[in-house]
């Protein structure tokens, strides 16, 4: 009976969403010029007259070369990154905060104090390969967030990869226990750093999270203003945060 109701309701929900689909443009048939993202792609937000734009005057820029050029309002080749860390950096701050909140939450909820034992020895391959792979993994993680503004990736994937390294450590070594003081300090200081970047932006440019560094040439490593820096702080923060979560989960309470 319960399943029947569930199927009925679920089907109803699916029907509803299909009905709602009719209100949006069909798949793949999107006119970007109606959307704000056209200007994110064109990196010309500052030159658009917003009040005209919202009232229908779309001001689409003509075709132009971006890669390798200088002087844009945003310098990262990866437009998604430019949105994430520059145009909508505040969202990302929120995102960082979500992760932080959940890390704090996990800590408060689990409240463990003692390393949990699996009660069996990790096997040989795991132990040995961990030693080999660990630096590589960490290096890869760092690469991902350092190149966040150029290639797909960024702080979050990079941090996750680093946390995966920590997880590997936990799996391969029963004695291993993350130094919580270090990870918490890293986490806290990196988080603060992000906010401080924002505050510097506020002090320098008059707006919170203002990009106060020069943008450089689109496509080069040292470009895109604060984006790489922010991604680095995010990467480190996420790495330490998720490592902390991994550590928390591997801890159990006394008694």
């Amino acid at each position: 009976m319960r399943r029947l109701y569930a199927i009925l309701v679920g089907a109803g929900l699916v029907y509803m969403l299909f009905a709602f689909l009719g209100t949006i443009s069909p798949y793949g048939n999107v006119n970007l010029s109606d959307r704000v993202s056209a200007h994110f792609l064109a990196k010309d937000v500052n030159s658009v007259d917003a009040s005209k734009w919202v009232s229908g005057d779309k001001q689409i820029p003509s075709k132009m070369k971006v890669f390798g050029k200088k002087g844009f309002e945003d310098g990262s080749a990866n437009v998604v990154t430019s949105i994430v860390v520059n145009y909508r950096s505040f969202d990302t701050l929120g995102e960082v905060t979500v992760l932080f909140a959940s890390a704090v939450g996990v800590g408060l909820i689990l409240g463990g104090t003692r390393r949990m034992r699996y009660g069996r020895k990790p096997n040989f391959i795991l132990r040995v390969s961990t030693g080999i792979l660990l630096p590589l993994i960490i290096l890869f993680g760092v690469y991902i967030f350092v190149h966040g503004h150029l290639t797909p990736g960024g702080g979050f994937p990079g941090g996750t990869v680093i946390a995966a390294a920590v997880l590997l450590l936990y799996l391969s070594n029963e004695e291993f226990s993350l130094n919580m003081v270090v990870s918490k300090s890293l986490e806290g200081s990196m988080g603060s750093l992000y906010v401080i970047f924002g505050l510097i932006g506020l002090a320098v440019g008059g707006a919170f999270l203002f990009n106060f560094l020069p943008n450089g040439v689109v496509g080069s490593l040292f470009s895109a203003g604060v984006v790489p820096l922010v991604y680095m702080t995010i990467g480190l923060k996420v790495g330490s945060e998720l490592s902390g979560v991994v550590a928390e989960i591997h801890e159990e309470r006394e008694g």
Binding site: N46, V48, V54, F90, G94, T97, V98, A101, G105, G188
Partner: protein, 464 residues
Amino acid sequence: MISLLIAIPLLLAFVSVMWKRISKSLFFLAAIVNLIILLASWFPNGVEIHAMGNWKPPFGINLVLDNASFYAVLVVNAFFFLVSLMPKFVESYGTSLMLLMAAANGFILTGDLFNSFVFMEIMTITAVTIASKRDNFYNAFKYLILGGIAGSIYLLATIFAYTATGSLNMAHVSMAAISASSLIAITTLYTIGLGVEAKLFPLNGWVSGVYGGNDLAPVILGTSVSFAALYMVGRLFGTVFHGNGAEVLYTLALITIVAGEVAALRQQNILKAFAYSSVAQAGVVVAMISKGTAKSMGLAYFHLTNDAVAKFVIFLVAGFLVYNYKNLNGVFKKHKILGASFSMATFSLIGFPLFAGFQSKLRMIMALFSMKDFLFPAVMLLATLIEVGYVVRWNVRLWFEEETQEKAETPVVASTIALILAILLVAVFLKPEIFLNGAMKMGNALADSKDYIQGVLSVVKGGM
């Protein structure tokens, strides 16, 4: 300046993980700084925006400080400040509370739909964390699941809004020409997405478990967070969607009122009883908001403020009692000040004269009658009648039954705060302008979407 309201608690939250021991003090610091910032920028009487990263709306994210958001932020931060005065109460939740404060401020101030989703999720996660205090895990988990579903639906709604308008900016969405069916899709999804946080029936299953499970959660979630959520209801349905979908909200809210009160009537747990009461009051507020005029919205928030103050006192006292006494009979004989504040707050809840609730309730009824709405006052009065039943029952039980237990230590700070707030309720009865002016300004700001659009979209430079 506005961004500091979010940045400072956030910064201090990050700092506080490094120095756990001072997290309570940092929380206090954050609260007081926020309050000072707010007092410094009193009612803006216009629309001030702060474009994040200097990206002008509708492209970037912007914070909007108008009378509405100012009033909401003021109330929310005031409650956080009050909580921060009670370090015993905060325990190790200082960081979470700071995050919650930042999230609530962000949720209220933001002028961007997706950004509001992000802050809502932060709120949910920190609220779940706080709800899990005192091993209240299952209820917290239920809240997490419901919050998760609501979040997804809210996100879907946001995406529908984006595809329909090409922008996530509230002001832009508000002015954009959206087809009727599209608008229905968006507002339906938003109704559900916000309904969970706004405690609309039957999306409010989490409330009793979360509010009834520990002493901290109801005090902060029942006041600040619910104010923030209900602010968003007004912002979205009042300003952004111009009352589209208000009838649904209205109907749901009326059902909520009755359901909340009858559920409260049978409760044997005092926290849960008043949790249901806050469900019902949220229903009143939402129904009032859904009437859509500036006056009705202003009165809704006036009522919400009164209710939040009263609930703060009630939950504070009830939380103290529940976790210090096994049997609550006659405990107020030992805690006269707590008892007096509790009674005053509960009477305000009912709307007895001499207390603030009277002012808001009567004004609402009067406004509704002048709008020729005869159903809602009847429902409200019926609900109040049920409320009288359990409020009097609790008061009588807590004051007059034979006491059985040894006296627990009186919380000095909490008693003082409770008493001050209770006296504030009397003061509001005598001089309703204390809350009313702000609330009416808020109502005007929420109802006036033209002003909002003008204020947000014509300003090019992000200001301080």
